[in-house]
């Protein structure tokens, strides 16, 4: 066949434009397709191919290569292919033709194996390889030629590597020579590929020894590129990024196991580098190498690998980027453990377990878990824990399925975790401590799983994946079983569904500390589970409900899961309550869920009452030595349940905060915050054993449920729920008040909460009606019961709390009648305890709420009857009071009319308030300070008769404070002066914490009263009372200085008390301390500083998560703290334990509900670097950085601004 004219033109006219050249090439290719073989073409181009002019030779050769590329069929047989291969190989030495020849070689090699019978054989490949080795010096070529040259090398290795190796071709030498000092990214990618192929070829041929011999040279190539530094130019067309190159380099390293002894030290060296990228690349390479090389290769290096990873994992990252490296280290370790475990090797985990420096890791994980910002670190570190959990499973001889990669289908992963959970199975006789420790580890592992599922990519799809839901259902159950210490032999899923109540084993009771940790960890785990990204439908809702059920058991029976000390029980209960609240929040889209949880609570309340009633009415009073366990736990349960209810309402309303903002709630909330909540908190009490084993009750001014519920009240849906709950609780409480007469706490709290809920429903006629009806029913019930304390107490408590909680608009129409009835109850009831205090609260509230015109002689007479009934040994001449109005000071009985010497109880009192006789100068004025009992007050030992002092008296004091406050607000100073003295007298008789708390509760009223004496109105309380300046002076003198001193004297020894001597100060006491610090006037503060400041760091720490803490107190406390930094004494006292102080401040800086608290805490933190040595602060630096990261993006501007200042101070 004739050669087309275009062939000659292509060869001779090299200057033609590309279009013309392409056209000519196309013509020649068409001829080839029509039957012109490549050998024919060679023959026709003979003169050109051997021409003197290099360019002509080159173009003729190029034409051959191009035709071969376009028309592979132009080769008619194996012989042709061999000839062409030999031709191109020979032309490699002809420099002008080199580019065309290398192109031809590449084409031939690429077509090898694709066209049977017409492609080159091994011998031809060897010819090309030999020519390549002998004639081509790749590093000396231009980039445009190096690329095809390296591609030829790549194809030789890929298609003929093994056969060339057998032919004795030195492939290693070829590759090393060709890739020497390569810098071009495109060529480097090819070079990396060649090295990878080397590894594959030599491994496939079983010639690793050759690689081993050349390992130095190979390592030189690898080492000089690691870690890879490359910034692609902006106009680069090759799309090669640093990441892709680094990934290719890692793959290259991984393909050469023979380099392990060189590479691992290099990687570990780079792991300790100060360059972040080096560390990240090293971690990535370690991960890939461990996965690729296997234990045989790695065995000698494994301990070094562990040490390197551990050092990174346990380092303290200073910034986000360092944090990422730690996270990568965790991931790396996790993947290494998984890879090696897949080969039945857990040596890495063993190394970790044997490493003493890792013992703090569980603690770090727990710390990290407390902050969302460190969730990533948590995940990575816990991944390590996961490895430990796996080891634990293995050591328990538990068979577990083959490990799945981390991103394996989740249900597989969950299956594995479940198996790990089954440790230790029946028959394992583990010491209890070890048992609990393993459980703790396992639960932490599960937390990891939960977090990983939540944070892993594609988790949103998991919500619609039925297999995930299916897998999670038994997962939930299993977690419950482990957390509840259920016997593994009985641990089938049905036991959860059937409400099987877990019991503590004997072994558990001997390991209390860890047991408590297990319980708390379990509860946290449940909370995590509750906030899965699953919305509502597909995820096993029943599983969540079971979890809620289990948590409610924890709430109601903290003893059942830990058997720990009381403080641990409270912690577990609080955690359980919070967990349940989270569950409710997670189930926000499901009313069913929320309603179910509420039902659980109500049911639990009922259970409490039944269990308590079995102890018999009055049983709590029968033994002065020890209160019945049932009563004590009931009180705790009630407290925890109510907290949970409040928290739950908040959680439920959280996502609807936008709706809250639309509602005009401010006036209502202001009234509630000022009047209702303190009244409700009167009822929030809990009991605990006294210091000497006596029954002592602790008053907890715990308005948390109400405060939290208040936040939730705006949401329409929640409001409906609250109304429903209010109705249910009111009905329940009324019913229970008849049945279980000893359940004061539960009923009071339930009703307080119910009343609070009712108070949100001012616009809801049905609830208002029910509230009013409840009050009147309660009063009627009391009357019909003959004012017997046995029946009247709960009912009066109901009435009192409901009245106190309801804003004026909800009060029943005829308040006068109500006041009369209540006061009659308080006077006639045969026990001066809860009934009288509840009535007092009610009366005081009414007094404060009624418009001035409504206080007529009837009401004032009733109140006059009521007030002296509180300190029952101080009767008042009724006739003189009945004609007086509290608004008219001259009509109120003077102090002289109080006959203290002829004290006679109006009714027999089971717990008499033994007021010591006041001095005859009880009518002293502020000017007559010398005669004032407060002035001459000195702390003294408590009389023996007060050793059985109970929370009732503290309640009474609180109540008295309420009455005093109401009177102060009304300007009825003559009425409150005698009461004030009695109050002071009571305070000095309080020997232990309950009394001190009562005193501090009174202190709260003091603060309020002081405000009342000020010129300012009382904004937000719905009254807007403006009081005269004259009262202000007295208020200051009487309240703020003398009373504060008295209260301080009482508080101080209690704060100092430690375990063993007296009960440790609880949250309520710390709240009292905070209020006290906030109320101290400047002069007194300077004097009391040495006494009070040492407690401040502890107080901050304890109050950060204490329920009784309220924002204004905390702000005042933080301001005191900040102010104290400026005085040398204060600074020394505060910074003696900087860790405690910083922890407390940091926790408060993350105090979500109140921006003012966060801001004040950040302000105090900002001052620290100026006063505390940097060494003392250094350990908190990482946590502080995390805190500030969040604070800089706080939702409130003042907090952000303060965070900026604090950050500057700390950096």
């Amino acid at each position: 066949m004739e050669l087309p004219l275009e062939a000659s033109q292509f060869v001779l006219d090299g200057q033609a434009n590309p279009g013309t050249l392409a056209y000519r090439l196309q013509k020649v290719a068409e001829a080839a397709r029509s039957g012109l073989s490549l050998l024919d073409l060679v023959r026709n181009l003979r003169d050109y191919l051997i021409a003197e002019e290099g360019e002509t030779r080159a173009r003729a050769t190029l034409l051959l290569a191009k035709v071969l590329e376009e028309v592979p069929s132009s080769l008619t047989g194996q012989t042709d292919a061999s000839h062409v291969a030999a031709f191109f190989a020979a032309r490699l030495s002809d420099w002008p033709s080199f580019a065309a020849a290398i192109h031809g070689c590449e084409t031939l090699l690429r077509q090898a194996g694709q066209t049977s019978g017409r492609s080159i054989a091994t011998a031809d490949a060897k010819v090309i390889a030999t020519a390549f080795t002998d004639e081509v010096e790749v590093p000396g070529l231009a980039v445009a030629l190096r690329q095809p040259a390296l591609r030829v090398l790549q194809l030789l290795l890929e298609k003929f590597g093994t056969s060339l190796l057998k032919e004795g071709v030195n492939l290693i030498g070829m590759v090393i020579a060709a890739t020497d000092a390569e810098k071009d990214p495109r060529c480097l990618m090819l070079a990396f590929s060649c090295f990878k192929l080397l590894g594959t070829v030599y491994a496939g041929a079983g010639c690793q020894s050759h690689l081993q011999e050349a390992s130095d040279d190979l390592f030189d190539f690898v080492a000089c590129y690691f870690p890879l530094t490359f910034t692609p130019p902006p106009d680069a067309a090759h799309n090669i990024t640093r990441e892709s190159m680094a990934s290719e380099l890692e793959a290259t390293i991984a393909a050469l196991p023979s380099l392990a002894e060189h590479v691992i030290p290099l990687l570990l060296e780079k792991l300790a580098s100060s360059v972040r990228q080096s560390r990240a690349d090293s971690l990535s390479a370690v991960k890939i190498c461990v996965a690729a090389w296997g234990i045989e290769v790695l065995d000698p290096q494994l301990s070094a690998v562990w040490r390197g990873l551990r050092n990174v994992l346990l380092s303290h990252p200073d910034c986000d980027e360092d944090q990422e490296v730690v996270v990568k280290a965790g991931e790396c370790l996790r993947d290494c453990v998984t890879s090696l475990a897949g080969q039945d090797n857990l040596e890495l985990v063993d190394l970790a377990l044997e490493d003493s420096s890792c013992q703090s890791l569980p603690m770090r994980i727990q710390e990290a878990a407390s902050g969302d910002s460190e969730a990533a670190f948590h995940v990575s570190s816990a991944a390590f824990m996961l490895g430990m959990g796996e080891r634990a499973a293995a050591s328990a001889n538990t068979s577990f399925p083959p490990l799945q990669p981390w991103h394996a289908p989740r249900h597989q992963m969950v299956k594995f975790r479940m198996t790990a959970l089954s440790l230790p199975r029946g028959g394992q006789q583990w010491p209890s401590e070890q048992l609990n420790h393993q459980r703790l580890l396992t639960i932490q592992c599960l937390q990891t799983v939960v977090r990983c599922i939540k944070t892993s990519p594609g988790s949103e799809h998991a919500a619609t994946d039925p297999s995930v839901a299916e897998a999670l259902s038994p997962f939930c159950s299993r977690m419950l079983q482990v957390g509840a210490h259920e016997d593994s032999t009985e641990s089938d899923e049905n036991s959860i569904g059937s409400g099987h109540r877990p019991t503590a084993s004997k072994a558990d009771s001997t390991s209390e500390g860890v047991g408590s940790q297990v319980a708390t960890a379990h509860i946290k785990l449940m909370s995590s589970l509750a906030s899965f990204p699953f919305d509502s439908a597909p995820l096993d809702m029943m599983g969540l409900l079971r979890a809620a059920r289990q948590l409610s058991l924890h709430v109601t029976d903290p003893q059942g899961i830990t058997g720990d000390a009381a403080s641990d029980q409270e912690g577990v209960s609080a955690a359980a309550a919070q967990g349940l609240a989270s569950m409710a929040g997670a189930g926000k889209s499901s009313t069913l869920m929320l309603a179910w949880v509420v039902e659980q609570f109500v049911s639990s309340l009922r259970q409490c009452s039944h269990s308590c009633s079995k102890n018999g009415p009055g049983s709590q009073q029968t033994s002065a030595e020890e209160p019945p366990a049932g009563t004590r736990s009931s009180s705790q349960q009630a407290s925890a349940i109510l907290r949970a209810l409040g928290a739950m309402a908040t959680e439920a309303a959280g996502p609807r905060s936008s709706e809250l903002r639309q509602l005009p709630l401010e006036p209502l909330l202001g009234t509630l915050a000022g009047d209702v909540i303190p009244a409700c908190s009167t009822g929030a009490r809990s009991q605990r054993p006294g210091p000497t084993g006596t029954a002592a009750k602790t008053q907890t001014p715990d308005g948390s449920a109400m405060v939290l519920a208040e936040e939730a009240a705006g949401a329409e849906k929640t409001q409906k729920l609250l109304q429903q709950v209010a109705s249910d609780l009111m009905a329940f409480a009324l019913q229970e008040s008849q049945a279980a007469r000893t359940m004061h706490d539960v009923i009071l709290q339930a009703l307080a909460w119910a009343a609070h809920a009712a108070s949100f429903s001012c616009g809801q006629p049905s609830v208002v009606e029910q509230a009013a009806s409840t009050i009147m029913q309660a009063v009627d019930g009391c009357r019909s019961a003959g004012y017997s304390s046995k029946h009247a107490e709960p009912a009066v408590a109901v009435a009192g709390c409901v009245v106190a909680a309801c804003p004026p608009s909800v009060l029943p129409g005829d308040c006068r009648e109500l006041v009369q009835q209540l006061t009659a109850l308080a006077v006639h009831v045969d026990q001066a305890s809860l009934a009288s205090q509840a009535a007092n609260v009610a009366a005081a509230s009414i007094l404060a709420k009624l418009p001035p015109g409504a206080i007529d002689s009837t009401v004032s007479a009733a109140l006059a009857q009521l007030l002296p009934a509180q300190p029952s040994t101080v009767p008042v001449d009724d006739s003189s009071i009945s004609s007086a109005s509290p608004m008219e000071t001259d009509g109120v009985p003077s102090p002289a009319q109080v006959d203290t010497s002829s004290a006679a109880p109006r009714a027999p009192t089971a717990v008499p308030l033994a007021i010591q006789p006041l001095p005859s100068s009880a009518d002293s004025t502020p000017q007559d300070q010398a005669a004032d009992p407060l002035q001459s007050y000195t702390p003294q030992a408590a009389p023996a008769c007060f050793h059985d002092f109970t929370g009732i008296k503290a309640q009474q004091l609180h109540c008295l404070g309420w009455v005093l406050r109401a009177l102060a607000m009304r300007g009825a100073q003559s009425m409150y002066q005698p009461l004030l003295r009695q109050y002071a007298q009571l305070l000095r008789q309080l020997p232990s914490e309950p009394g001190a708390v009562g005193a501090a509760a009174g202190m709260l009223e003091t603060c309020f009263s002081s405000q009342g004496f000020d010129h300012r109105s009382m904004p937000g309380r719905g009254l807007h009372l403006t009081l005269g300046p004259s009262n202000h002076v007295q208020g200051r003198l009487l309240w703020q200085q003398r009373l504060l001193t008295v209260v301080l004297d009482e508080l101080h020894p209690v704060l100092q008390a430690g375990p063993g001597s007296q009960p440790q100060a609880g949250g309520a006491l710390w709240a009292a301390y905070a209020r006290l610090m906030g109320a101290l006037p400047d002069a007194l503060a300077a004097r009391e500083q040495p006494r009070l400041l040492p407690f401040l760091p502890t107080c901050l720490l304890r109050l950060a998560d204490a329920v009784p803490a309220d924002a204004p107190s905390l702000v005042a406390l933080l301001n005191s703290c900040a102010a104290s930094f400026h005085s040398p004494t204060g600074l020394a006292l505060l910074t003696s334990e900087p860790g405690t102080l910083i922890s407390g401040l940091m926790q408060l800086a993350a105090f979500r509900p109140a921006a003012s608290v966060r801001s004040a805490a950040l302000h105090a933190l900002a001052l620290l670097p100026g006063h505390v040595s940097w060494e003392a602060l250094h350990s908190s630096k990482a946590a502080m950085a995390a805190l500030l990261r969040n604070a800089l993006d706080d939702i409130k501007r003042p907090v952000r601004q303060q965070a900026a200042v604090t950050k500057l101070a700390w950096t």
């Binding site: 903002r661 401010e666 500057l1208």
Partner: protein, 156 residues
């Protein structure tokens, strides 16, 4: 050394709206980061050449700040006192460093010269918004010292 602008015009310090006016009462409602908040951060940066703040020299202004809290983007324009101000880059660097320190990391911050505000506006803008060049500048101890001096605010 001769000052580039020996007699700058000094403006009065403005009375900004207080936080209370701009802060929502609800604890749950977010106070969006607004231009005023950004302005409060940068107004007190001292000019490298004069002992006056950028606000007093009218280099920065609330009107020249565009921020979107939702989109995490911030654009701050500043106006050098003279067109040929050689300190423009340093001023821009100070603003950037200050904002880097006080803003959440989610923000993309663009520091630009007010259009027409400088003879080499484009070059300065490019330099100020090239993070590698900014990072390189912050590796220079003397430059960091100058930036820190400016960020400390005017001396009383």
């Amino acid at each position: 050394m001769d000052l580039i602008n020996p007699e700058p015009i000094i403006h009065e310090r403005k009375n900004l709206k207080s936080n209370t006016d701009r802060t929502t009462t609800s604890e749950d409602q977010r106070d969006a980061i607004d231009p005023l908040e950004i302005f409060e951060h940068i107004r007190d940066i001292t000019d490298p050449e004069h002992p006056y703040s950028l606000e007093q020299l009218n280099v920065v202004s609330e009107d020249l700040i565009d921020i979107s809290d939702d989109k995490s983007s911030l654009r701050v324009q500043f106006t050098p006192t003279v067109q040929h101000c050689s300190m423009a880059t340093l001023i821009g660097l100070c603003i950037r460093v200050k904002l880097m320190r006080v803003l959440p990391s989610r923000f993309k911050v663009d520091i630009l010269i007010t259009p027409g505000g400088h003879s080499t506006e484009e070059a300065v803008n490019k330099q100020l918004n090239d993070k590698e060049r900014v990072a390189a500048a912050l590796e220079n101890p003397s430059l960091v010292q100058m930036v820190n001096n400016s960020l400390q605010g005017p001396k009383p």
